[in-house]
Amino acid sequence: MTARRAGLAALALGLIATALLHGHMGSPPVYDGIAVPPEPYRWESPPPNLAAGNKPPLPGDATLPIQNGQVAGGGVQTGDNQVVMYFGPGAFKAPAGATGVKCTIAPDPNPPAPPAGVEIRGNVYRIGCMGEPGGGLVTLASNYHVTLRFPPGAFKEIYYKDGSVWRPLPTLTAPGGDPYASVNAPGFGEYAATAATGAQGPSVFSDLGRYLEFFGILAFVILFGAIAIVQEIRRRRHRAPAPAKRRR
């Protein structure tokens, strides 16, 4: 088999296999550069300067089966991945007669006012679960896990409102400046990312540091790439045979 025929066969086989396997994954997992930045935050009520390009936040829901009297473990996330909740088997207690539990996460269009001295950063999300059929009350046997995305700017902690008062929860933020924070959620109700009123976001210097790191390394790569190209051109010139001299 010649190299070209082998190449054509491999190309066809590879593309057919890729098309068949694509169904299992969103895109070819061949990307190896730096992380793709997240899409802009989706605001329920955007600040005036962000209103133009804003897309509304998306809700999410999932129905979980009841197995041997226990609600199966699982997860629910909003369609825009701004909120994710997950829980282990038996974390929720379903009402009698229920065959499943439906959990929903929805952005609240009319959120309650934040407590004094605290500013809500981003959307307030209402998280709840109910038994199916019938819509009976689901209670908690243990905490579950909630991760919230927060918009650029100041962030301190996640607050939870169980229907009466807001209270802060011990919050973990994602490393590397990723805009996500997680809590062990003690109940169903409203959850919001917050900061102290008037708090400033990351300083100009920390932003500048990130830009310097990014563009500095990019400049480094371009510089060395250019040097490599120049060296290669010189090498080729050096290797090229000298034109024959005329004899007189």
């Binding site: 190449g7 054509l8 590879g14 098309a19 969103g26 997992p29 990307y31 190896d32 730096i34």
Partner: protein, 172 residues
């Protein structure tokens, strides 16, 4: 050495995505540079024809993704991100479809070079995407290896790979 570069990148991930990516790229650049061919002795397609072939294969790789919802990532931030994506994709191709392909083709033939390259390609993506992605990466590696053998050039492979990567910005 290529697999070692991928392993080093994984080990350096806790130090930051950007740093580990740049060390990985520098390793691939070193492999490409020190193992560059003295002279090309295989028949090759012209640059223009190879470029078109690369664009077509890249479009085929992207086709299943473009039916998804379009992302709202700002186009202004695309350029520096895309430059790094193109650089890393090109260096992966010059290492695998360039250096490794030449070595394997010289020692064991074209089929071994294509298959060996596809295996290396799937393995270097293993730390980032896990075992579940390996069949698809091996298939993409097979297609890119085929493109290399068909055209006699690394350029179309780099173009197709870069296009597939850029899709992550718009549709992932």
């Amino acid at each position: 050495m290529i697999l070692g570069a991928a392993l080093l990148r994984t080990l350096l991930l806790p130090a930051g995505d950007l740093l580990s990516t740049m060390v990985f790229a520098a390793c691939l650049f070193g492999i490409t540079w020190f193992e560059r061919p003295v002279a090309a002795n295989e028949s090759r397609w012209g640059r223009g024809r190879s470029l078109v072939a690369g664009l077509m294969v890249g479009a085929v790789l992207l086709a299943p993704v473009v039916s998804g919802s379009f992302s709202t990532r700002p186009l202004s931030a695309f350029v520096p991100w895309a430059a790094i994506a193109a650089l890393v994709a090109t260096l992966e191709e010059t290492s695998i479809r360039g250096v490794l392909y030449r070595r394997l083709a010289g020692e064991a033939g074209t089929v071994a070079a294509i298959v060996g390259g596809a295996a290396a390609f799937a393995l270097i993506h293993l730390p980032r995407y896990g075992l579940g992605a390996m069949p698809l990466d091996a298939a993409v590696g097979l297609a890119l290896g085929g493109l290399r053998a068909l055209t006699g050039r690394v350029l179309p492979c780099a173009v197709a790979h870069t296009l597939a990567d850029w899709g992550a910005w718009f549709w992932a």
